[in-house]
C-alpha cells in the first residue's frame, strides 16, 4: 500500500512538474481558456447560480434546466417524450398530454425554447418549446417547471421556425419547415411546385392563464421556413422568417434547394393580419388537431380535438407580407435588441447579411419592388441592406446580442463564435468551439434587454472532448465570458440529447415564483384522497379503484385483499405531505407501467392488471425518511371467480 501511494505521489509530482513546464502557448489547445476559469464558474456549495438555462433536448424530446455559470444540471423537464422517472405519459393524468391527431405519440424532437416576455423583456412565466416532428408547441410553466399545455399545429410539417414569442407574448409563432398539400390530399409528389403551401401559425397566448389558441395560419408559398424571430421596439408588430428551397424542389434537396443565389426573409406584419382577422377576414377550414391542457388543480390533463382553423391568404391582405432577398439559404433569423436590424445567416455563405427595418419601411413606402413571388412583393436587396459582416468564417448559423452593441454569431463549418459590432459590421473577436457549433445563447439575447455576461455555445460534435462512451458520445455546451472585449472560454459541460437552442434568464426573476408544494385543500383530482378518513377500495365489475394516501412513511391502506386475476386495478395515490421537497414514489411488482413520483399534495394514478395469484408487494421508490424501507404494502390476488371479500386496512 505504502509503495503504491508513494508511486502515485511520484507520478502526481511528475505530472505537476511536466505541466508546470509547458510553455504558455500550449493553452491555445484549450481555446480561450484563462487561468482562473475554474474560480469564475465555481458556485460555492449551497449557493445558487446566477442564471437559469433551459436547454432543448433535441431528439430526447425534453428540456433540461441548468445553472450558469456552473453548468450544473437541476432537472430534465419531460415535454414530448414519455419519461418513466416522472411517469410522464405513463400515468393516467398525463397520457392525454401526448395525444395528437395521429393518436398517442410518445416522442418528439424538441428544438427552440423561448421565454415569455412583457414589454420586450423576459418575464419568466413560461418557456415555450416546439416539437419538430409531429408539429406541436408546448408550454412549460415556470412556477412548477412542468409542461402544462401542448397544442398540435395542423397544416404543418417539420415545425422548425418555432416557438418564438412576440414582445408581450401576444403570440407564440410556429412556422412549418416542410411545405405540404393544404389540406392534405393524395397527389403526386412531383406536383409540389406551386401546389404545396407553407403554414405560419400565430398562436395567441392568454395574458391571464397563458392558454394557447391558434389565432390564424398564414398560408405562404411552398418554401421551407427555417427560423424566425419577432420584431421589437420600432419593429414590434412584425415577424421575420428565413426561407430556403425557394426553388420548390422536392428531391435531392442538397443540390436542388441550393440553386438560387438568394432566398428570402419573409417579413410578416402580424398586427395587420390580426386586424384583418378581427374584422372577419380569413377562411375557416376543417382541421383536426389536439389541444392538451394539464390542470393544476385536478392534476389531470385533458385532450380536446379541434376541428377548425382560420387560414389567411397573404395576397388578400395588402401590405402584410414582403420578401427580403437574403443570400445562400439563410438559416438563423435574428433581430437585435433595438429591433432595427434583422440578421440573416446564409448558411452556405461566409458573410452575414443584415437588413435594416427603417430601410425596409422606406422601400415599402416607395413601392420599389423587384417583382413578386406568388403575389408577394419582393423588395430590392440593395434597398433593405444595412450591411454585410465579412467574417472570414464559414457556415454562419445563429446570432445573439449582448445589449452593448455587439452581436455573436456561430459558424458551423469553421466551428467558432464570432463577435462583431452592430453598426460598423466589424469583427471584434473570434473563439473556437469544440466542435461544430449550432445555436448559441446569451440569457435574454433575443429580447430588448439581454443579460450580456455569458454566451453558451451548443455543439453538435464532441469527439475527443470527454471520456469516450462507445460510439455515441455526448453533445456539449461551452460557456464563454463575454463581459470583456475578448470572449473567454470558461467551461465545457455535457448536455442531455442534442442542444438545439436554449433560453436563459436571471435566476432572481424565476426562483421566487417557484412553487414548493401543491396545496391539499386545492386538490380537485377526481380520485383524490385528501383525508385519511376517505381511504377506501371500490369495486365496479372488474374495475377496482384504490383511493390511497401516502405520508412519511406509510401507505394507507397497506394491506388489500379481494383483488382477483383479470381485474383492472386503478391506484389513485395522494401524497398527503405539505412540506417542501418530500415527494413519495410508488411502484407495484409486475405492473406494465412506470412508477409514480408524487409531489406533496398531488394525486397520480397508475393501472395494474394482476395476472398471477399471490401476495404482491408495492413500495415507495423515493427515499423519503429514515423509515423509507418500511414504506411498503401487500395486495392479495385471488383466482378469478373466487369469493374473497374486498378488504383494506392499515395497522390492523
Amino acid at each position: 500500500m505504502k509503495k503504491y501511494s508513494s508511486l502515485i505521489l511520484g507520478a502526481l509530482g511528475l505530472a505537476a512538474l511536466m505541466s508546470g513546464c509547458q510553455p504558455k502557448s500550449k493553452t491555445t489547445g484549450n481555446g480561450a481558456l484563462t487561468s482562473n476559469a475554474a474560480e469564475r464558474v465555481y458556485v460555492n456549495p449551497g449557493e445558487h447560480d446566477e442564471f437559469y438555462a433551459f436547454i432543448s433536448g433535441g431528439f430526447s424530446g425534453q428540456m433540461s434546466v441548468y445553472g450558469l455559470p456552473s453548468g450544473r444540471l437541476f432537472k430534465v423537464i419531460p415535454v414530448f417524450s414519455q419519461d418513466a422517472e416522472k411517469a410522464w405519459g405513463y400515468n393516467e393524468e398525463t397520457k392525454p398530454m401526448l395525444n395528437t391527431s395521429h393518436g398517442f405519440v410518445p416522442w418528439d424532437d424538441a428544438h427552440h425554447p423561448d421565454i415569455s416576455q412583457t414589454n420586450g423583456e423576459l418575464d419568466g412565466r413560461y418557456v415555450f418549446i416546439n416539437g419538430n416532428n409531429t408539429p406541436r408547441i408546448a408550454k412549460v410553466d415556470l412556477s412548477v417547471f412542468e409542461t402544462t399545455e401542448i397544442i398540435e399545429i395542423p397544416n404543418s410539417a417539420g415545425n422548425h421556425s418555432s416557438s418564438f414569442v412576440t414582445e408581450n407574448t401576444e403570440y407564440v409563432v410556429a412556422g412549418t419547415r416542410f411545405s405540404v398539400p393544404v389540406p392534405q390530399r393524395d397527389m403526386p409528389i412531383s406536383e409540389y411546385k406551386g401546389n404545396f403551401k407553407g403554414a405560419l401559425s400565430f398562436i395567441s397566448v392568454d395574458p391571464e392563464d397563458g392558454g394557447m389558441d391558434i389565432k390564424f395560419q398564414l398560408l405562404m408559398p411552398g418554401f421551407d421556413y427555417d427560423l424566425s424571430h419577432p420584431g421589437r421596439g420600432a419593429s414590434h408588430g412584425w415577424f421575420f422568417f428565413t426561407t430556403y428551397n425557394t426553388e420548390e424542389a422536392n428531391t435531392l434537396m442538397e443540390v436542388n434547394a441550393s440553386q438560387n443565389d438568394k432566398d428570402f426573409i419573409a417579413a410578416v406584419n402580424w398586427k395587420k393580419i390580426e386586424e384583418y382577422v378581427n374584422n372577419g377576414g380569413g377562411k375557416k377550414m376543417p382541421a383536426n388537431y389536439a389541444h392538451n391542457v394539464y390542470n393544476e388543480e385536478t392534476h389531470t390533463a385533458t385532450s380536446t380535438m379541434k376541428k377548425e382553423v382560420l387560414v389567411v391568404d397573404p395576397t388578400e391582405v395588402p401590405g402584410a407580407v414582403y420578401f427580403l432577398p437574403t443570400p445562400k439559404s439563410p438559416h438563423g433569423c435574428d433581430v437585435d435588441p433595438t429591433g432595427e436590424y434583422i440578421v440573416g445567416n446564409g448558411k452556405l455563405s461566409a458573410d452575414l447579411t443584415v437588413h435594416s427595418f427603417t430601410k425596409m419601411l422606406a422601400a415599402i413606402e416607395s413601392e420599389k419592388f423587384d417583382g413578386d413571388a406568388y403575389g408577394i412583393p419582393i423588395l430590392k436587396f440593395e434597398d433593405v441592406l444595412a450591411g454585410t459582416v465579412k467574417s472570414g468564417g464559414l457556415g454562419p448559423l445563429h446570432t445573439e446580442f449582448d445589449g452593448n452593441g455587439n452581436a455573436y454569431t456561430t459558424f458551423f463549418i469553421s466551428s467558432e463564435v464570432v463577435k462583431w459590432n452592430v453598426g460598423t459590421w466589424e469583427v471584434i473577436d473570434r473563439q473556437p468551439c469544440y466542435y461544430s457549433v449550432g445555436h448559441l445563447m446569451i440569457p435574454g439575447g433575443n429580447s430588448r434587454k439581454p443579460f450580456g455576461k455569458y454566451v453558451v455555445a451548443m455543439n453538435k460534435i464532441t469527439k475527443d472532448r470527454y471520456l469516450p462512451t462507445g460510439p455515441e458520445v455526448t453533445q456539449s455546451a461551452q460557456l464563454y465570458d463575454i463581459s470583456g472585449e475578448k470572449m473567454e472560454l470558461l467551461l465545457d459541460f455535457p448536455t442531455v440529447g442534442e442542444p438545439h437552442y436554449a433560453a436563459g434568464i436571471a435566476a432572481d426573476i424565476v426562483k421566487e415564483r417557484s412553487k414548493k408544494i401543491y396545496e391539499l385543500s386545492k386538490n380537485k383530482h377526481k380520485y383524490a384522497t385528501t383525508s385519511d378518513a376517505d381511504v377506501r377500495v371500490e369495486r365496479n365489475g372488474k374495475e377496482v379503484h384504490v383511493y390511497m394516501s401516502m405520508i412519511r412513511s406509510h401507505f394507507n391502506p397497506d394491506n388489500i385483499e379481494g383483488i382477483k386475476v383479470g381485474d383492472k386495478v386503478y391506484f389513485h395515490v395522494t401524497n398527503l405531505e405539505q412540506d417542501y421537497d418530500v415527494p413519495h414514489g410508488v411502484s407495484m411488482i409486475g405492473a406494465n407501467t412506470s412508477e409514480l413520483l408524487i409531489m406533496p399534495g398531488q394525486t397520480e394514478t397508475f393501472v395494474w392488471e394482476p395476472k398471477q395469484v399471490g401476495v404482491w408487494p408495492f413500495y415507495c421508490t423515493d427515499f423519503c425518511s429514515a423509515l423509507h424501507q418500511e414504506m411498503q404494502g401487500y395486495v392479495r390476488v385471488s383466482p378469478a371467480g373466487s369469493n374473497i371479500d374486498l378488504k383494506w386496512s392499515l395497522g390492523e
Binding site: 408544494i517 391539499l520 385543500s521 385528501t530 383525508s531 385519511d532 378518513a533 394516501s549 405520508i551 412519511r552 412513511s553 406509510h554 394507507n556 398527503l576 405531505e577 405539505q578 412540506d579 418530500v582 395469484v613 399471490g614 401476495v615 425518511s625 429514515a626 423509515l627 392479495r636 385471488s638 383466482p639 373466487s642 369469493n643 374473497i644 395497522g651
Partner: protein, 170 residues
Amino acid sequence: MKIVLKVITLFFSIVIISCGGKEEKKKEGFSVDRQKTPTEKPAETTSTADVAPASTRIDLSNKGVGPITSLTLPAEIDEALAKKGEETYNQMCLACHRVGKKFIGPAPNNILERRSPEWVMNMILNPEGMVKEDPLAKDLLTEFNGAPMANQGLTEEQARSVLEFFRTLK
C-alpha cells in the same frame, strides 16, 4: 440454514394454500427462547431509567421551541373553532395521529393535561426544530420508532384551531 429451510417451507405452504383461496391458520411468527440480554446501563442513567415514556410524561412548564412563546386559552371551548380544527386535523394530521389510539404518532386525547398549549402549537408549526432542540420531542421521536413528525405547513391560525379541537377530545 435452518431458517432458510423454514422460510422456504413456509413460502411453499403459502403458495399451496393460496391456490385454494382459503384462510390459513398457522402458528404465527416465531419466538426466541433465549433470555433477552439486559442492555448495559451506564451508571448515570439510573435516574432516566425510571422516567416514564415521553408520551405519558407530564410537563406543563415547557413551552417548546418555535414561534409560539405565550398562549392563554380561554376557559370556554370555542366550538366553531374546534370544528374548523377538526377539518384541518382530518386533512393534515389523521394519516399519523388517530383519536384514542396510538398510531404512527401519539393520540391527541388529553394532550393539554400533559403539555402546555405553546408546546403543542410549536410541535405542529416547527416539528424539525422541536425534534432537534426540545428534550421531550427528542424522546418522542425515539419512542415512536424514529418516525419524525412531518411539517404540514399549517398556518398559526390553523394550528390554533387544531389545538381547540384537541380540547374537545376526552
